[in-house]
């Protein structure tokens, strides 16, 4: 658990952090979202002591971070920097191996780890000898993620790790990361200013504005607690559509039916957003999905009921 209490940081007249308190629970991915310049990176960097706050305290697993030497602390925390920051003079594998080498792992273990991470992030093993300038933006960011994960840290700080990727690749990496996080259960503080990304990846979302947390809640109930003009503006009127992406047909309560040949079939792993789109253009055609050899009818009403339950229920 990362606990930040009453953090304040000013740069001259700018207040980057304004008496901010926040808890990241063990094993959760907390997404920090907010407009440019609201202090997200500053907040992240106070945790690995790249920024010293003017006031406030941070503990990780109840231990104040100042109990560690900065280098020792940083080697235990995975860090994806905004703008990747791969070392241009090192190959992909040497970039990934940086922290394990600082921690003096033995070489066979490091090599095995590099292979494992490249596979995990969907990069070919032949990339090991490439230099950062030979990678595309998306590949470089994936190597950045590998580097952050390399020493298997419990805590991960990720500052817009997928910022420089085209929308197609971005979605692939996001889904891969979500899979990864479901398996590894790291304690992640994830910065983005992309609401879609926050909804897809966050167990909870913290909405940040001018150095303060305006709201902290699950993606489903964001904007539900107290009416707030800034929050509403930020999440937009189509928020309900956006959170549909978090659930799949398997999450719905559906009615079993006999399948017919003229039915339109959907994968049970389709997101509700995809399902809704299909329903909207299906006309009179029936839409079904098959879960465990049983066919179910999918209806707009089922999606509405689900949304009601998770968002307003």
């Amino acid at each position: 658990m990362i606990k930040l209490s009453h953090m304040t940081k000013t740069y001259g007249a700018i207040t980057a952090l304004d008496d901010l308190s926040l808890e990241v629970r063990n094993g959760e991915c907390l997404v920090l979202i907010g407009p440019s310049g609201c202090g997200k990176s500053t907040l992240l960097k106070t945790i690995n002591r790249l920024v010293e706050p003017d006031a406030g305290e941070i503990t990780i697993h109840q231990k104040p971070i100042h109990d560690y030497a900065p280098e020792v602390l940083r080697r235990q925390i995975g860090y994806c920097i905004q703008g990747v920051g791969l070392f241009p003079h090192l190959s992909v594998s040497d970039n990934i191996a940086v922290v394990p080498r600082l921690l003096k792992w033995d070489e066979p273990k490091i090599q095995a780890r590099i292979d494992e991470l490249l596979t995990l992030t969907g990069l070919p093993l032949s990339y090991k000898t490439k230099r950062p300038h030979q990678l595309s933006g998306g590949e470089a960011q994936r190597v950045g993620v590998c580097r952050a994960l390399a020493a298997d840290p419990e805590v991960l700080l990720m500052d817009e790790p997928f910022g420089a990727v085209d929308p197609m690749t971005r979605e692939q990496i996001q889904l891969a990361f979500r899979e990864l996080q479901r398996r590894l259960k790291k304690t992640v503080l994830f910065v983005t200013h992309d609401l879609e990304e926050a909804i897809l990846l966050g167990d909870r979302i913290a909405l940040m504005h001018r150095g303060k947390i305006l709201e902290l809640s699950t993606p489903e109930s964001l904007g539900q607690s107290t009416p707030n003009e800034t929050v509403n503006q930020f999440i937009g009127a189509d928020y309900a559509l956006r959170i549909l992406r978090r659930s799949t047909l398997e999450d719905l309560k559906l009615t079993a039916v006999q399948p017919q040949t003229e039915d339109r079939r959907l994968e049970s792993t389709s997101s509700l957003k995809e399902a809704l789109a299909v329903l909207l253009e299906s006309g009179n055609q029936r839409v079904i999905t098959v879960i465990d050899h049983q066919a179910y009818r999918v209806d707009v009403g089922d999606i509405m009921a689900h949304l009601q339950a998770v968002r307003y229920g």
Partner: protein, 243 residues
């Protein structure tokens, strides 16, 4: 491939020209005397190849010492993390370069006496300045996101300088060494005015006796050596596109 041919081809041509100049000095000299119509075709006491060797030794000792001291100084200034010290060193360096080398040589004679020492000191001092300056500017030019990544990964200050900043500064550093070496190869000829060996000997003797052939005999190897040094150092500079 074309790049290799260009680099090494030119180096080879310069090198072979130098060998030819040394091996065939007496014939070349006789020919030059014929063309110019002045000068003496006699051979000097010291063969040209010995002078070249002396020249290389002088330049190597001075430049090597300057590389070691210059890089050390640059790293020390960087590790001090003091911007005042850094700008002081850079400004002092720029000032130092404006002192004419002839003055350094003349002033060091009373201290070091006639011979090789004054020119060694002058060459050392001149080489050290571009090397320190380039070491520092190379270290400083490392992009902020790279240094932040280095810190964030958990490098100590010293590890950050040696494992990240120094390797990235290397191309700039080599450029500094190249400048220093090329300047030193030609500046070393001044040593002959205070009794040092090297290719300055025939050049200075030629100037004293108004003998252009003698001046040419000494100058051509200097030019060729400078060209070879320039080519070789350019080719070993890591070519890396740094975003």
């Amino acid at each position: 491939m074309a790049k290799y041919i260009k680099t090494w081809g030119l180096t080879l041509i310069y090198g072979l020209s130098l060998v030819w100049w040394l091996a065939d000095t007496s014939r070349i000299k006789a020919q030059l005397v014929e063309w110019f119509g002045i000068g003496s075709p006699l051979i000097e006491r010291t063969p040209l190849s010995t002078l070249v060797w002396q020249h290389i030794t002088l330049v190597s000792i001075a430049t090597l010492a300057a590389i070691l001291v210059g890089i050390g100084l640059g790293l020390a200034v960087r590790l001090s993390r003091s911007e005042e010290l850094e700008s002081l060193v850079i400004r002092f360096g720029a000032l130092g370069e404006t002192i004419p080398s002839a003055a350094v040589i003349a002033l060091s004679v009373p201290l070091l006496g006639y011979g090789n020492e004054p020119i060694l000191l002058a060459l050392f001092l001149y080489a050290i300045l571009p090397i320190v300056r380039n070491t520092l500017s190379g270290l400083n030019s490392v992009a902020p996101d790279i240094t932040e990544a280095a810190k964030g990964m958990g490098f100590t200050e010293i590890q950050q300088v040696f494992k990240v900043e120094f390797p990235l500064a290397f191309p700039t550093l080599i450029a500094g060494i190249r400048t220093a070496l090329v300047i030193n190869i030609s500046a070393a000829t001044l040593g002959a005015t205070v009794g040092a060996g090297g290719l300055g000997v025939p050049i200075i003797a030629g100037i004293r006796t108004s003998d252009p052939v003698l001046v040419l005999i000494g100058s051509v190897p200097v030019i060729l050596m400078a060209l070879v040094a320039d080519r070789v150092l350019r080719s070993i500079t890591p070519q890396r596109s740094i975003p």
